[in-house]
Amino acid sequence: MQKKAKFGVGIGVIVVSMAVLAWLGYSDSKTYYHTIAELSTLQGSARNHRMRVGGTVEPGSIRRLSGRVDFVLEGEGKTLPVSYVGSDPLPDTFIDKSQALVEGKPGSDGRFVAEHVQAKCASKYEAAPGGDKPSASPSAVQRSEM
């Protein structure tokens, strides 16, 4: 029985330490998904989470300023002003009416401060009637544009 106990301890140590590490990693990197409509209803500490918000870029709203790019996302009838402050150039697919996913935190003045922007053209790549999703690995496509 002592043998079994030894194995038990060995297995236990591995599993428990992994669980601790997993918890640490989870706290470090968790990101909430919200829609634009949900964003205005968030209360208290929920507003300070790291989050991703998706929507369509409002035509004509992209303004390139020094050090940041401002634009407006719309979705479900609501709009959200966004300031992109990240260092990478914005993806080429980021144009009027493209679908964009911004990652960051809501600022104090109601603007969403984004560090990453992913974008996808809504238009031609989608198939004609009867078509399907656009690409073999959608996530890979998005990543390229981060």
Binding site: K3, K30, Y33, V69, P89, L90, L101, S123, K133, A140
Partner: protein
């Protein structure tokens, strides 16, 4: 041709259903003619799938823009090479391609074993047909690749033909993207074979460990493709996506890693069953899990259920896959409950320091890693179910768990193969690990002196040196024995040794490849990058390199417009070479692609990206990365694949060079004696 293709698919479905239902009837009645006819139905299913696949390719090559799938994934200007790849660039085609590859495996199994294992094969045929029927259902009724373009009009449905197609996603127009999916899919589909044999053996209460011997090679083939597929995918991400890395823990990547982890665990733990009759329940469930993870992986890749937010499109195949996974789980569980007495273990674990326990911990680590990756990947889905808010976890989560696990596994890679079965004596520990330990510590000291202080990279390099030393020593020892007996030189003796026990020494070569991969992965701890607005003639510095922008321009090509840069690379102020990073804008679908310029050496990769233009000044922006040791990963991958192929080669019989050996009957036994003398212990084979 589209009608022809869809008819072939429908007929394949019918044959598949017959093979499945008839197969069950054949098992019940044991009627030899019924058994034969269901086997032939299984083969017919495969042939019909081949015909359907060829028809779809035919549509691509004849630019048939009346077919919805061809319109979405091809255009007239697309080169023939990529017209082949267009087959699997969308959902419908990929699912057909899945069926196609599975059919290749199924027909090979049915042909190879047509006159063997008569008790087992009807069961195997039924399981295989069941899996095929599921995919053929999708191919025929849910995601048919043979749909025609059409619109609803007042009078009904009218067909039309487009002048040209939308083109292939430019990110997929890259040679590796042509070979990566077939490899990965061959891995996914290949695990169906060991799964079918395991389930069949359990259902048939097939005696002994025979199913493991039968499926060993199939599992290794699948594992080899899976490994190659994962690495090619990583290389594609590295060379094409232009973000400077090769792995981002993205759901699609994770999906391919999951069955690899359990498949690797399975390849190791079957040895416990072969040698010691242990872990039978565990092995059966490992192979079940691996198959289910392959299905899950296909589902995650195809459906985008995790990667996308609400805004991005989702697909209709989800419920089908979830239903199939639950069904398979139910069947497996039912078979297990009914026949679990047949899986009783014959032995118990004896000691903490033994081969068995090293396999046990190897399995534990791979499984914990698999669970961590799986839960991290599915976290958005489950958090939405349980708490209502969709939460994703990122790279820190995956790295925190998997780095220590990877290092533990690397440690076991060195230690495990040298431990004896049952119990290892202290003396043998000293003999086996003294030198490698010394090599590891000395390398550690050198690396420390070179200024590397990070805990993980330091430990990783020490372990790599240690494991490489244990493997080298194994080859050296075995070769020395052969050399003493045959007068060969040491190198020839090592080759002879490897060919006499390909499974064991092929396995060591695979381990060596993993060591190289770990060296490359550890390099990521020292990645650097610089981004700078450039002008003609201006320079930027990264590491010991200076990049000079010589010129940049824009040029129209047949399929796209290219923005190009000519960058001169200087090292220590001496001209080294020219790099040509490029951005391509594809005319047909408003997409762009990055052509990264990489100067790769064993020491480091200089990775230069044309990152776009500064919106205010219109100045071109260079994003340069310095990624140490990346090349080791790709080299390691090649070694892993070669080692796996070697392990698939049958052993060479030891040729006796004793003079006057005229009794051939005695030869094998002497050869065996020689072999056991070479291997010292009960071998890792």
């Amino acid at each position: 041709m589209d009608v022809f293709g869809s008819f072939a698919l429908l007929l394949a479905f019918v044959c598949g259903v017959y093979a499945f239902v008839g197969g069950i009837a054949a098992i019940r009645t044991r009627h030899p003619l019924l058994i034969k006819s269901t086997r032939q139905a299984g083969m017919a299913t495969c042939v019909l799938i081949f015909i359907a696949t060829v028809s779809l390719e035919y549509l691509f090559f004849t630019d048939s823009f009346s077919s919805a799938y061809v319109v979405s994934h091809s255009n007239r200007d697309l080169s023939s090479f990529y017209k082949i790849a267009a087959l699997w660039s969308g959902q419908e085609g990929s699912l057909l391609f899945w069926s196609f590859l599975l059919a290749v495996y199924v027909i090979s199994v049915l042909l190879v074993y047509r006159n063997k294992n008569g008790e087992l094969m009807p069961y195997v045929g039924v399981v295989l047909a069941g899996v095929q029927v599921f995919f053929l259902t999708l191919n025929n009724f849910v995601a048919s690749p043979f749909k025609s373009l059409g619109v609803e009009t007042a009078t009904g449905f009218s067909l039309f033909t487009r002048a040209d197609g939308n083109g292939l996603n430019p990110l997929l127009q890259y040679p590796e993207m042509v070979i990566h999916p077939p490899n990965l899919y061959s891995g996914y589909t290949g695990f169906t074979i060991p799964f079918a044999f395991a389930l069949a053996a359990l259902l048939a209460r097939y005696p002994g460990e025979k199913w493991i011997h039968l499926t060993r090679k199939w599992t290794m083939i699948a594992w080899c493709f899976q490994t190659l597929g994962i690495l090619l995918g990583a290389h594609w991400a590295y060379a094409v996506l232009g973000w400077g890395g090769y792995w981002a823990w993205d759901p699609v990547e994770n999906a391919s890693l999951l069955p690899w982890l359990t498949g690797t665990a399975f390849l190791h733990s079957v040895m416990m069953q072969e040698k010691r009759g242990m872990m039978k329940v565990w092995n059966v469930w490992l192979v079940f899990t691996t198959f289910l993870l392959c299905i899950l992986g296909t589902f995650l890749t195809r459906s985008g259920v995790v990667s996308s937010v609400h805004a991005f499109a989702q697909s209709s195949i989800g419920p089908w896959f979830i239903g199939f996974i639950l069904f398979v789980l139910l069947v497996c569980f039912g078979a297990y409950v009914k026949n679990r007495d047949y899986l009783r273990s014959e032995n118990q674990l004896d000691s903490m320091v033994s081969r068995e326990s090293s396999f046990l911990f190897n399995n534990l680590i791979l499984l914990v890693s698999c669970i961590a990756v799986l839960s991290g990947t599915l976290f958005p889905v489950f958090s939405e179910w349980f708490s209502g808010s969709r939460i994703s976890v990122g790279t820190p989560f995956f790295n925190k768990v998997n780095l220590p696990l990877g290092l533990l596994l690397l440690f076991l890679t060195g230690v495990g193969p040298l431990l004896a079965w049952r119990k290892t004596s202290a003396d043998s520990l000293k003999r086996n690990f003294g030198w490698p330990l010394l090599v590891g510590l000395i390398s550690g000291a050198i690396i420390f002196a070179l200024g590397i202080r990070g805990f993980y990279p330091l430990v990783c390099f020490i372990l790599c040196a240690f494991v490489a030393a244990t493997i080298t020593m194994e080859f050296y020892r075995g070769a020395k024995v052969i050399k003493a007996r045959t007068n060969m030189n040491l190198l020839a003796a090592a080759q002879e040794l490897t060919l006499r026990n390909t499974r064991r020494y092929g396995g060591y070569i695979v381990h060596m490849g993993m060591v190289l991969i770990f060296v490359g992965l550890a390099g990521a701890a020292f990645n650097r990058d610089v981004q700078k607005d450039m002008q003609q003639g201006s320079t930027m510095q990264i590491g010991s390199y200076n990049l000079v922008l010589q010129s940049y321009d824009s040029k129209a090509e047949r399929n796209y417009t290219s923005q190009r840069m000519i960058v001169e690379v200087m090292k220590n102020n001496k001209p080294l070479m020219m790099l040509y990073p490029e951005r391509r804008f594809f005319n047909t679908n408003e997409q762009s692609g990055t052509m990264v310029a990489i100067y790769s050496t064993l020491q480091e990769d200089l990775y230069v990206v044309y990152a776009g233009q500064n919106p205010e000044t219109n100045a071109p922006v260079i994003h340069a990365y310095l990624n140490p040791l990346v090349k080791w990963i790709w080299l390691g991958g090649v070694v892993v694949v070669l080692g796996t192929i070697l392990a698939l080669v049958p052993n060479r019989r030891a040729v006796l060079v004793l003079a006057g050996a005229q009794q051939p009957a005695a030869a094998p036994s002497v050869a065996q004696a020689l072999q056991s003398a070479v291997t010292h212990r009960e071998g890792h084979d």
